[in-house]
Symmetry: C2
Subunit: 269 residues, 2 copies
Protein backbone atom coordinates (compact mmCIF):
# COMPACT_ATOMS: atom_id res chain seq x y z
CA UNK A 1 0.00 0.00 0.00
CA UNK A 2 2.90 2.40 0.37
CA UNK A 3 3.06 3.79 -3.14
CA UNK A 4 -0.31 3.30 -4.81
CA UNK A 5 -1.11 6.32 -6.89
CA UNK A 6 -4.22 7.53 -5.13
CA UNK A 7 -4.63 10.98 -6.74
CA UNK A 8 -3.19 14.44 -6.30
CA UNK A 9 -3.90 14.09 -2.64
CA UNK A 10 -0.82 11.96 -2.20
CA UNK A 11 2.14 14.27 -2.14
CA UNK A 12 4.78 13.72 -4.77
CA UNK A 13 7.46 14.47 -2.18
CA UNK A 14 5.90 12.47 0.60
CA UNK A 15 7.48 9.12 0.07
CA UNK A 16 9.27 9.26 3.38
CA UNK A 17 6.28 10.57 5.31
CA UNK A 18 3.73 8.38 6.97
CA UNK A 19 0.62 7.69 4.96
CA UNK A 20 -1.73 9.44 7.35
CA UNK A 21 0.31 12.63 7.19
CA UNK A 22 0.31 12.63 3.44
CA UNK A 23 -3.30 11.80 2.90
CA UNK A 24 -5.27 13.55 5.59
CA UNK A 25 -6.78 16.95 4.94
CA UNK A 26 -7.47 19.05 7.91
CA UNK A 27 -9.53 22.21 7.67
CA UNK A 28 -7.42 25.17 8.78
CA UNK A 29 -10.50 26.86 10.16
CA UNK A 30 -12.44 24.25 12.16
CA UNK A 31 -9.44 21.85 12.51
CA UNK A 32 -11.61 18.87 11.54
CA UNK A 33 -10.58 16.33 8.93
CA UNK A 34 -12.58 16.35 5.73
CA UNK A 35 -13.02 14.38 2.53
CA UNK A 36 -12.54 15.54 -1.05
CA UNK A 37 -16.24 16.06 -1.66
CA UNK A 38 -16.29 18.43 1.31
CA UNK A 39 -13.36 20.46 0.00
CA UNK A 40 -13.73 24.21 0.35
CA UNK A 41 -10.69 26.22 -0.60
CA UNK A 42 -7.01 25.69 -1.11
CA UNK A 43 -4.58 27.15 1.41
CA UNK A 44 -3.75 30.18 -0.69
CA UNK A 45 -7.37 31.22 -1.06
CA UNK A 46 -7.95 30.54 2.63
CA UNK A 47 -5.15 32.91 3.55
CA UNK A 48 -6.35 35.53 1.09
CA UNK A 49 -9.87 35.30 2.51
CA UNK A 50 -8.42 35.80 5.98
CA UNK A 51 -6.64 38.94 4.83
CA UNK A 52 -9.78 40.23 3.16
CA UNK A 53 -11.71 39.68 6.38
CA UNK A 54 -9.06 41.56 8.37
CA UNK A 55 -9.22 44.44 5.89
CA UNK A 56 -13.00 44.60 6.08
CA UNK A 57 -12.82 44.62 9.87
CA UNK A 58 -10.30 47.46 9.80
CA UNK A 59 -12.56 49.39 7.45
CA UNK A 60 -15.44 48.87 9.87
CA UNK A 61 -13.36 50.18 12.77
CA UNK A 62 -12.40 53.25 10.71
CA UNK A 63 -16.00 53.92 9.74
CA UNK A 64 -17.18 53.51 13.33
CA UNK A 65 -14.60 56.06 14.46
CA UNK A 66 -15.80 58.40 11.73
CA UNK A 67 -19.41 58.00 12.86
CA UNK A 68 -18.37 58.68 16.45
CA UNK A 69 -16.58 61.83 15.31
CA UNK A 70 -19.40 63.13 13.10
CA UNK A 71 -22.15 62.20 15.52
CA UNK A 72 -23.45 65.14 17.51
CA UNK A 73 -24.40 65.22 21.09
CA UNK A 74 -28.04 65.92 20.87
CA UNK A 75 -29.00 69.24 22.50
CA UNK A 76 -31.38 67.09 24.52
CA UNK A 77 -28.67 64.74 25.81
CA UNK A 78 -26.68 67.74 26.75
CA UNK A 79 -29.41 69.35 28.81
CA UNK A 80 -29.62 66.10 30.75
CA UNK A 81 -25.92 65.83 31.31
CA UNK A 82 -25.44 69.30 32.75
CA UNK A 83 -26.37 70.08 36.34
CA UNK A 84 -29.86 71.55 36.90
CA UNK A 85 -28.39 74.91 37.91
CA UNK A 86 -25.95 75.04 35.01
CA UNK A 87 -27.12 72.98 32.08
CA UNK A 88 -24.55 74.77 29.92
CA UNK A 89 -25.50 76.68 26.82
CA UNK A 90 -25.38 74.74 23.57
CA UNK A 91 -26.38 77.64 21.34
CA UNK A 92 -29.69 76.36 20.00
CA UNK A 93 -31.24 78.89 17.62
CA UNK A 94 -34.60 77.27 16.93
CA UNK A 95 -37.22 75.22 18.79
CA UNK A 96 -39.59 72.56 17.51
CA UNK A 97 -43.01 72.23 19.09
CA UNK A 98 -45.50 69.37 18.91
CA UNK A 99 -48.40 71.77 18.84
CA UNK A 100 -51.33 69.39 18.92
CA UNK A 101 -50.02 66.33 20.62
CA UNK A 102 -53.36 65.56 22.24
CA UNK A 103 -52.39 66.34 25.84
CA UNK A 104 -55.07 68.86 26.87
CA UNK A 105 -54.34 71.94 28.92
CA UNK A 106 -50.58 71.79 29.31
CA UNK A 107 -48.51 74.07 27.09
CA UNK A 108 -46.31 72.09 24.72
CA UNK A 109 -42.66 71.57 25.73
CA UNK A 110 -40.34 72.99 23.06
CA UNK A 111 -37.52 70.83 21.72
CA UNK A 112 -34.39 72.96 21.16
CA UNK A 113 -32.25 72.49 18.05
CA UNK A 114 -29.84 74.17 15.65
CA UNK A 115 -30.97 75.52 12.31
CA UNK A 116 -27.66 74.40 10.80
CA UNK A 117 -28.35 70.78 11.77
CA UNK A 118 -31.98 70.76 10.64
CA UNK A 119 -31.05 72.35 7.30
CA UNK A 120 -28.27 69.82 6.79
CA UNK A 121 -30.40 66.76 7.46
CA UNK A 122 -33.70 67.64 5.79
CA UNK A 123 -34.41 69.41 2.49
CA UNK A 124 -37.81 70.40 3.87
CA UNK A 125 -36.30 72.19 6.87
CA UNK A 126 -33.76 73.67 4.47
CA UNK A 127 -36.45 75.23 2.29
CA UNK A 128 -38.37 76.34 5.36
CA UNK A 129 -35.46 77.99 7.16
CA UNK A 130 -33.45 79.41 4.30
CA UNK A 131 -36.36 81.13 2.65
CA UNK A 132 -37.28 83.52 5.43
CA UNK A 133 -40.56 81.85 6.11
CA UNK A 134 -42.55 82.30 9.30
CA UNK A 135 -40.53 79.53 11.01
CA UNK A 136 -37.22 81.19 10.24
CA UNK A 137 -38.34 84.57 11.57
CA UNK A 138 -39.98 83.26 14.73
CA UNK A 139 -37.40 80.56 15.45
CA UNK A 140 -40.26 78.16 16.18
CA UNK A 141 -41.23 75.20 14.02
CA UNK A 142 -44.66 73.83 14.80
CA UNK A 143 -45.20 70.18 13.98
CA UNK A 144 -48.68 68.73 13.97
CA UNK A 145 -49.99 65.23 14.68
CA UNK A 146 -46.99 64.09 16.64
CA UNK A 147 -46.36 63.25 20.27
CA UNK A 148 -43.70 65.07 22.26
CA UNK A 149 -41.80 61.79 22.65
CA UNK A 150 -41.74 61.12 18.92
CA UNK A 151 -40.66 64.68 18.14
CA UNK A 152 -37.88 64.41 20.70
CA UNK A 153 -36.71 61.10 19.24
CA UNK A 154 -36.88 62.62 15.75
CA UNK A 155 -34.68 65.58 16.68
CA UNK A 156 -32.33 63.25 18.53
CA UNK A 157 -31.96 61.12 15.40
CA UNK A 158 -31.02 64.15 13.32
CA UNK A 159 -28.05 64.67 15.64
CA UNK A 160 -26.99 61.11 16.34
CA UNK A 161 -28.40 58.76 13.64
CA UNK A 162 -29.68 56.64 16.53
CA UNK A 163 -33.09 55.91 17.95
CA UNK A 164 -34.65 53.49 20.34
CA UNK A 165 -37.56 51.88 18.47
CA UNK A 166 -40.64 49.90 19.28
CA UNK A 167 -43.30 49.37 16.63
CA UNK A 168 -45.26 52.51 17.54
CA UNK A 169 -42.14 54.69 17.60
CA UNK A 170 -40.93 53.22 14.29
CA UNK A 171 -44.27 54.17 12.69
CA UNK A 172 -44.24 57.66 14.23
CA UNK A 173 -40.67 58.32 13.12
CA UNK A 174 -41.30 56.91 9.64
CA UNK A 175 -44.14 59.39 9.22
CA UNK A 176 -41.91 62.29 10.32
CA UNK A 177 -39.05 61.02 8.14
CA UNK A 178 -41.36 60.95 5.13
CA UNK A 179 -42.78 64.40 5.88
CA UNK A 180 -39.33 66.00 6.25
CA UNK A 181 -37.56 63.85 3.64
CA UNK A 182 -35.06 62.31 6.05
CA UNK A 183 -34.24 59.25 3.94
CA UNK A 184 -31.77 57.68 6.33
CA UNK A 185 -34.29 57.64 9.16
CA UNK A 186 -36.99 56.28 6.88
CA UNK A 187 -34.73 53.37 5.90
CA UNK A 188 -33.88 52.77 9.56
CA UNK A 189 -37.57 52.53 10.50
CA UNK A 190 -38.41 50.40 7.46
CA UNK A 191 -35.77 47.80 8.36
CA UNK A 192 -37.13 47.66 11.88
CA UNK A 193 -40.73 47.21 10.72
CA UNK A 194 -39.72 44.45 8.29
CA UNK A 195 -37.98 42.66 11.16
CA UNK A 196 -41.20 42.82 13.19
CA UNK A 197 -43.48 41.71 10.37
CA UNK A 198 -45.66 38.66 11.06
CA UNK A 199 -48.96 37.22 9.92
CA UNK A 200 -50.91 38.95 12.68
CA UNK A 201 -49.74 42.45 11.81
CA UNK A 202 -49.26 41.88 8.07
CA UNK A 203 -52.41 43.59 6.78
CA UNK A 204 -52.15 46.65 9.02
CA UNK A 205 -48.44 46.94 8.20
CA UNK A 206 -49.25 46.61 4.50
CA UNK A 207 -51.82 49.43 4.69
CA UNK A 208 -49.45 51.63 6.69
CA UNK A 209 -46.58 51.03 4.27
CA UNK A 210 -48.87 51.85 1.36
CA UNK A 211 -49.99 55.11 2.91
CA UNK A 212 -46.44 56.30 3.58
CA UNK A 213 -44.62 55.00 0.50
CA UNK A 214 -42.47 52.60 2.52
CA UNK A 215 -41.48 50.33 -0.36
CA UNK A 216 -39.27 47.93 1.61
CA UNK A 217 -42.04 47.26 4.12
CA UNK A 218 -44.69 47.13 1.42
CA UNK A 219 -42.87 44.45 -0.56
CA UNK A 220 -42.16 42.36 2.52
CA UNK A 221 -45.77 42.56 3.71
CA UNK A 222 -47.16 41.78 0.27
CA UNK A 223 -44.89 38.78 -0.07
CA UNK A 224 -46.01 37.43 3.31
CA UNK A 225 -49.68 37.97 2.51
CA UNK A 226 -49.56 36.40 -0.95
CA UNK A 227 -47.82 33.36 0.55
CA UNK A 228 -50.83 32.85 2.81
CA UNK A 229 -53.81 33.61 0.55
CA UNK A 230 -55.78 30.64 1.90
CA UNK A 231 -55.97 32.35 5.30
CA UNK A 232 -56.44 35.91 4.04
CA UNK A 233 -60.21 36.25 3.83
CA UNK A 234 -60.60 34.83 7.34
CA UNK A 235 -58.67 37.71 8.85
CA UNK A 236 -60.67 40.31 10.73
CA UNK A 237 -58.61 43.16 9.26
CA UNK A 238 -59.33 41.88 5.76
CA UNK A 239 -63.00 42.83 5.91
CA UNK A 240 -62.11 46.18 7.46
CA UNK A 241 -59.70 46.89 4.63
CA UNK A 242 -62.27 45.91 1.97
CA UNK A 243 -64.64 48.42 3.59
CA UNK A 244 -62.11 51.18 4.11
CA UNK A 245 -59.78 50.99 1.13
CA UNK A 246 -60.76 48.31 -1.40
CA UNK A 247 -58.08 49.44 -3.86
CA UNK A 248 -55.43 48.13 -1.48
CA UNK A 249 -57.18 44.75 -1.46
CA UNK A 250 -57.25 44.76 -5.25
CA UNK A 251 -53.50 45.31 -5.26
CA UNK A 252 -53.05 42.25 -3.07
CA UNK A 253 -54.97 40.09 -5.56
CA UNK A 254 -53.04 41.59 -8.45
CA UNK A 255 -49.75 40.79 -6.72
CA UNK A 256 -50.96 37.24 -6.04
CA UNK A 257 -51.94 36.73 -9.67
CA UNK A 258 -48.67 38.07 -10.94
CA UNK A 259 -46.81 35.75 -8.56
CA UNK A 260 -48.79 32.75 -9.85
CA UNK A 261 -48.03 33.64 -13.45
CA UNK A 262 -44.34 34.06 -12.66
CA UNK A 263 -44.22 30.74 -10.85
CA UNK A 264 -45.89 29.02 -13.81
CA UNK A 265 -43.43 30.55 -16.28
CA UNK A 266 -40.56 29.54 -14.01
CA UNK A 267 -41.81 25.94 -13.88
CA UNK A 268 -42.23 25.78 -17.67
CA UNK A 269 -38.68 26.88 -18.29
CA UNK B 1 -7.87 0.03 -8.11
CA UNK B 2 -11.61 0.62 -7.70
CA UNK B 3 -11.99 0.13 -3.99
CA UNK B 4 -8.62 0.58 -2.38
CA UNK B 5 -9.08 2.36 0.92
CA UNK B 6 -7.04 5.47 0.24
CA UNK B 7 -8.23 7.68 3.10
CA UNK B 8 -11.20 9.90 3.84
CA UNK B 9 -10.75 11.42 0.43
CA UNK B 10 -12.39 8.45 -1.26
CA UNK B 11 -16.11 8.76 -0.73
CA UNK B 12 -17.84 5.86 0.90
CA UNK B 13 -20.77 6.38 -1.47
CA UNK B 14 -18.67 6.92 -4.57
CA UNK B 15 -18.46 3.41 -5.93
CA UNK B 16 -20.37 4.29 -9.05
CA UNK B 17 -18.61 7.57 -9.63
CA UNK B 18 -15.53 7.92 -11.76
CA UNK B 19 -12.29 7.98 -9.84
CA UNK B 20 -11.38 11.48 -10.86
CA UNK B 21 -14.69 12.82 -9.53
CA UNK B 22 -14.23 11.12 -6.22
CA UNK B 23 -10.60 11.94 -5.67
CA UNK B 24 -10.02 15.39 -7.09
CA UNK B 25 -10.20 18.42 -4.85
CA UNK B 26 -11.04 21.62 -6.50
CA UNK B 27 -10.85 24.92 -4.67
CA UNK B 28 -14.28 26.53 -4.63
CA UNK B 29 -12.72 29.96 -4.72
CA UNK B 30 -9.99 29.87 -7.41
CA UNK B 31 -11.37 26.73 -9.13
CA UNK B 32 -7.89 25.17 -9.29
CA UNK B 33 -7.17 21.65 -8.21
CA UNK B 34 -5.04 21.26 -5.12
CA UNK B 35 -3.25 18.62 -3.09
CA UNK B 36 -3.78 17.68 0.55
CA UNK B 37 -0.83 19.66 1.80
CA UNK B 38 -2.37 22.75 0.20
CA UNK B 39 -5.72 22.20 1.87
CA UNK B 40 -7.34 25.34 3.26
CA UNK B 41 -10.83 24.86 4.59
CA UNK B 42 -13.64 22.39 4.36
CA UNK B 43 -16.76 23.33 2.43
CA UNK B 44 -18.77 24.23 5.52
CA UNK B 45 -16.16 26.68 6.77
CA UNK B 46 -15.79 28.09 3.26
CA UNK B 47 -19.51 28.82 3.14
CA UNK B 48 -19.51 30.29 6.62
CA UNK B 49 -16.59 32.54 5.70
CA UNK B 50 -18.54 33.68 2.64
CA UNK B 51 -21.51 34.59 4.81
CA UNK B 52 -19.29 36.43 7.27
CA UNK B 53 -17.79 38.43 4.40
CA UNK B 54 -21.26 39.32 3.12
CA UNK B 55 -22.27 40.43 6.61
CA UNK B 56 -19.16 42.57 7.00
CA UNK B 57 -19.82 44.17 3.62
CA UNK B 58 -23.40 44.94 4.59
CA UNK B 59 -22.17 46.49 7.83
CA UNK B 60 -19.75 48.64 5.82
CA UNK B 61 -22.58 49.82 3.56
CA UNK B 62 -24.70 50.69 6.60
CA UNK B 63 -21.85 52.59 8.22
CA UNK B 64 -21.10 54.47 5.00
CA UNK B 65 -24.73 55.54 4.77
CA UNK B 66 -24.57 56.68 8.39
CA UNK B 67 -21.43 58.72 7.69
CA UNK B 68 -23.12 60.29 4.67
CA UNK B 69 -26.11 61.20 6.84
CA UNK B 70 -24.10 62.61 9.75
CA UNK B 71 -21.60 64.40 7.55
CA UNK B 72 -22.25 68.12 7.26
CA UNK B 73 -22.00 70.29 4.25
CA UNK B 74 -19.24 72.55 5.24
CA UNK B 75 -20.28 76.21 5.41
CA UNK B 76 -17.42 76.72 2.95
CA UNK B 77 -18.70 74.19 0.43
CA UNK B 78 -22.03 75.82 0.65
CA UNK B 79 -20.77 79.28 -0.13
CA UNK B 80 -19.21 77.80 -3.25
CA UNK B 81 -22.31 76.01 -4.32
CA UNK B 82 -24.59 79.04 -4.11
CA UNK B 83 -24.55 81.70 -6.79
CA UNK B 84 -22.32 84.73 -6.08
CA UNK B 85 -25.33 87.02 -5.70
CA UNK B 86 -27.18 84.61 -3.45
CA UNK B 87 -24.86 82.28 -1.59
CA UNK B 88 -27.75 81.35 0.71
CA UNK B 89 -27.59 81.83 4.45
CA UNK B 90 -26.30 78.88 6.44
CA UNK B 91 -26.63 80.52 9.84
CA UNK B 92 -23.00 80.70 10.89
CA UNK B 93 -22.65 82.28 14.34
CA UNK B 94 -18.87 82.50 14.65
CA UNK B 95 -15.86 83.15 12.42
CA UNK B 96 -12.31 81.83 12.66
CA UNK B 97 -9.45 84.04 11.55
CA UNK B 98 -5.84 83.13 10.75
CA UNK B 99 -4.58 86.35 12.23
CA UNK B 100 -0.90 86.12 11.47
CA UNK B 101 -0.68 83.93 8.46
CA UNK B 102 2.31 85.78 7.09
CA UNK B 103 0.59 87.49 4.15
CA UNK B 104 1.44 91.14 4.73
CA UNK B 105 -0.98 93.99 4.25
CA UNK B 106 -4.16 92.15 3.33
CA UNK B 107 -6.79 91.78 6.04
CA UNK B 108 -7.33 88.11 6.95
CA UNK B 109 -10.30 86.34 5.35
CA UNK B 110 -12.64 85.01 8.04
CA UNK B 111 -13.77 81.37 7.89
CA UNK B 112 -17.43 81.11 8.95
CA UNK B 113 -18.59 78.28 11.21
CA UNK B 114 -21.18 77.22 13.78
CA UNK B 115 -20.44 77.29 17.48
CA UNK B 116 -22.48 74.12 17.90
CA UNK B 117 -20.19 72.23 15.51
CA UNK B 118 -16.95 73.56 16.98
CA UNK B 119 -18.09 72.77 20.51
CA UNK B 120 -19.10 69.28 19.49
CA UNK B 121 -15.82 68.41 17.79
CA UNK B 122 -13.24 69.99 20.08
CA UNK B 123 -13.07 70.17 23.88
CA UNK B 124 -10.87 73.27 23.52
CA UNK B 125 -13.48 75.14 21.48
CA UNK B 126 -16.06 73.87 23.96
CA UNK B 127 -14.27 75.41 26.92
CA UNK B 128 -13.63 78.59 24.95
CA UNK B 129 -17.18 79.11 23.71
CA UNK B 130 -19.23 77.84 26.62
CA UNK B 131 -17.39 79.86 29.23
CA UNK B 132 -18.21 83.33 27.97
CA UNK B 133 -14.65 84.07 27.05
CA UNK B 134 -13.62 86.81 24.68
CA UNK B 135 -14.16 84.53 21.66
CA UNK B 136 -17.71 83.73 22.67
CA UNK B 137 -18.65 87.38 23.16
CA UNK B 138 -17.03 88.65 19.99
CA UNK B 139 -17.97 85.70 17.80
CA UNK B 140 -14.41 85.69 16.44
CA UNK B 141 -11.78 83.05 17.14
CA UNK B 142 -8.26 84.15 16.27
CA UNK B 143 -5.84 81.38 15.42
CA UNK B 144 -2.14 82.08 15.21
CA UNK B 145 0.65 80.49 13.16
CA UNK B 146 -1.61 78.98 10.56
CA UNK B 147 -2.22 79.66 6.88
CA UNK B 148 -5.68 80.52 5.60
CA UNK B 149 -5.68 77.31 3.53
CA UNK B 150 -4.87 75.13 6.53
CA UNK B 151 -7.50 76.87 8.68
CA UNK B 152 -10.05 76.39 5.94
CA UNK B 153 -9.18 72.70 5.62
CA UNK B 154 -9.34 72.35 9.41
CA UNK B 155 -12.83 73.82 9.63
CA UNK B 156 -13.90 71.74 6.66
CA UNK B 157 -12.72 68.58 8.42
CA UNK B 158 -14.77 69.41 11.51
CA UNK B 159 -17.87 69.30 9.29
CA UNK B 160 -17.05 66.45 6.96
CA UNK B 161 -14.31 64.25 8.47
CA UNK B 162 -12.55 64.63 5.12
CA UNK B 163 -9.47 66.47 3.95
CA UNK B 164 -7.23 66.53 0.93
CA UNK B 165 -3.69 66.02 2.24
CA UNK B 166 -0.17 66.48 1.03
CA UNK B 167 2.72 66.28 3.47
CA UNK B 168 2.67 70.00 4.32
CA UNK B 169 -1.09 70.03 4.85
CA UNK B 170 -0.92 66.85 6.97
CA UNK B 171 1.65 68.54 9.23
CA UNK B 172 -0.35 71.78 9.44
CA UNK B 173 -3.56 69.95 10.26
CA UNK B 174 -1.84 67.69 12.78
CA UNK B 175 -0.62 70.79 14.63
CA UNK B 176 -4.14 72.25 14.68
CA UNK B 177 -5.63 68.88 15.68
CA UNK B 178 -3.22 68.68 18.59
CA UNK B 179 -3.86 72.27 19.67
CA UNK B 180 -7.65 71.86 19.63
CA UNK B 181 -7.72 68.21 20.74
CA UNK B 182 -9.39 66.87 17.62
CA UNK B 183 -8.25 63.26 18.01
CA UNK B 184 -9.90 61.91 14.89
CA UNK B 185 -8.11 64.43 12.66
CA UNK B 186 -4.81 63.80 14.41
CA UNK B 187 -5.11 60.08 13.69
CA UNK B 188 -6.04 60.82 10.09
CA UNK B 189 -2.91 62.95 9.59
CA UNK B 190 -0.70 60.47 11.42
CA UNK B 191 -1.76 57.61 9.15
CA UNK B 192 -1.02 59.76 6.12
CA UNK B 193 2.44 60.74 7.39
CA UNK B 194 3.30 57.13 8.17
CA UNK B 195 2.33 56.19 4.60
CA UNK B 196 4.71 58.87 3.27
CA UNK B 197 7.60 57.95 5.55
CA UNK B 198 10.91 57.13 3.82
CA UNK B 199 14.60 57.26 4.57
CA UNK B 200 14.99 60.77 3.16
CA UNK B 201 12.35 62.35 5.38
CA UNK B 202 12.76 60.01 8.36
CA UNK B 203 14.75 62.31 10.65
CA UNK B 204 12.66 65.41 10.04
CA UNK B 205 9.49 63.38 10.44
CA UNK B 206 10.85 61.91 13.66
CA UNK B 207 11.61 65.36 15.08
CA UNK B 208 8.19 66.66 14.02
CA UNK B 209 6.39 63.67 15.53
CA UNK B 210 8.34 64.15 18.75
CA UNK B 211 7.43 67.80 18.99
CA UNK B 212 3.72 67.16 18.50
CA UNK B 213 3.25 63.91 20.41
CA UNK B 214 2.33 61.97 17.27
CA UNK B 215 3.05 58.51 18.67
CA UNK B 216 2.10 56.50 15.60
CA UNK B 217 4.45 58.53 13.38
CA UNK B 218 7.15 58.58 16.04
CA UNK B 219 7.21 54.79 16.37
CA UNK B 220 7.25 54.27 12.61
CA UNK B 221 10.05 56.78 12.08
CA UNK B 222 12.10 55.40 14.95
CA UNK B 223 11.74 51.88 13.62
CA UNK B 224 12.89 52.97 10.14
CA UNK B 225 15.86 54.89 11.55
CA UNK B 226 17.05 52.13 13.88
CA UNK B 227 16.87 49.68 10.97
CA UNK B 228 19.40 51.84 9.12
CA UNK B 229 21.85 52.90 11.81
CA UNK B 230 24.84 52.33 9.53
CA UNK B 231 23.66 55.21 7.33
CA UNK B 232 22.44 57.50 10.10
CA UNK B 233 25.50 59.57 10.90
CA UNK B 234 26.07 60.30 7.22
CA UNK B 235 22.74 62.11 6.96
CA UNK B 236 22.88 65.90 6.72
CA UNK B 237 19.90 66.26 9.06
CA UNK B 238 21.65 64.12 11.64
CA UNK B 239 24.28 66.75 12.42
CA UNK B 240 21.61 69.45 12.44
CA UNK B 241 19.60 67.48 14.96
CA UNK B 242 22.65 66.88 17.18
CA UNK B 243 23.16 70.64 17.21
CA UNK B 244 19.56 71.63 17.68
CA UNK B 245 18.08 68.96 19.91
CA UNK B 246 20.62 66.35 21.05
CA UNK B 247 18.12 64.71 23.42
CA UNK B 248 16.20 63.48 20.38
CA UNK B 249 19.38 61.90 19.06
CA UNK B 250 19.98 60.24 22.41
CA UNK B 251 16.51 58.73 22.20
CA UNK B 252 17.35 57.24 18.82
CA UNK B 253 20.43 55.52 20.29
CA UNK B 254 18.43 54.33 23.28
CA UNK B 255 15.80 52.85 20.98
CA UNK B 256 18.53 51.17 18.93
CA UNK B 257 20.14 49.68 22.03
CA UNK B 258 16.84 48.42 23.35
CA UNK B 259 16.10 46.84 19.96
CA UNK B 260 19.48 45.07 19.98
CA UNK B 261 18.89 43.71 23.48
CA UNK B 262 15.41 42.50 22.51
CA UNK B 263 16.73 40.80 19.39
CA UNK B 264 19.43 39.06 21.44
CA UNK B 265 16.92 37.82 24.01
CA UNK B 266 14.68 36.65 21.19
CA UNK B 267 17.53 34.70 19.60
CA UNK B 268 18.48 33.08 22.92
CA UNK B 269 14.99 31.78 23.52
Amino acid sequence: MRRHRCNQVVRSDSETESESDAETMRCLSCKEEYAARDAGTCKECYEEAGETEEELKREIEDLKAKVAFLRFWSPLDHAHRGSPTSPGPVFPDVVLVAYDDGSPGLPPVPVPAHKAVLVNRSPVFKAMLENEMEESRSGTIKISDVSYDALRAFVNYLYTAEAWLDEQMACDLLVLAEKYHVKHLKGFCEKFLVSKLNWDNSLLTYAFAHQHGAKLVLDAALSLITDNMDKLTKKEEYMELVEKDPRLVVEIYEAYLSKQVNTAVHKDT
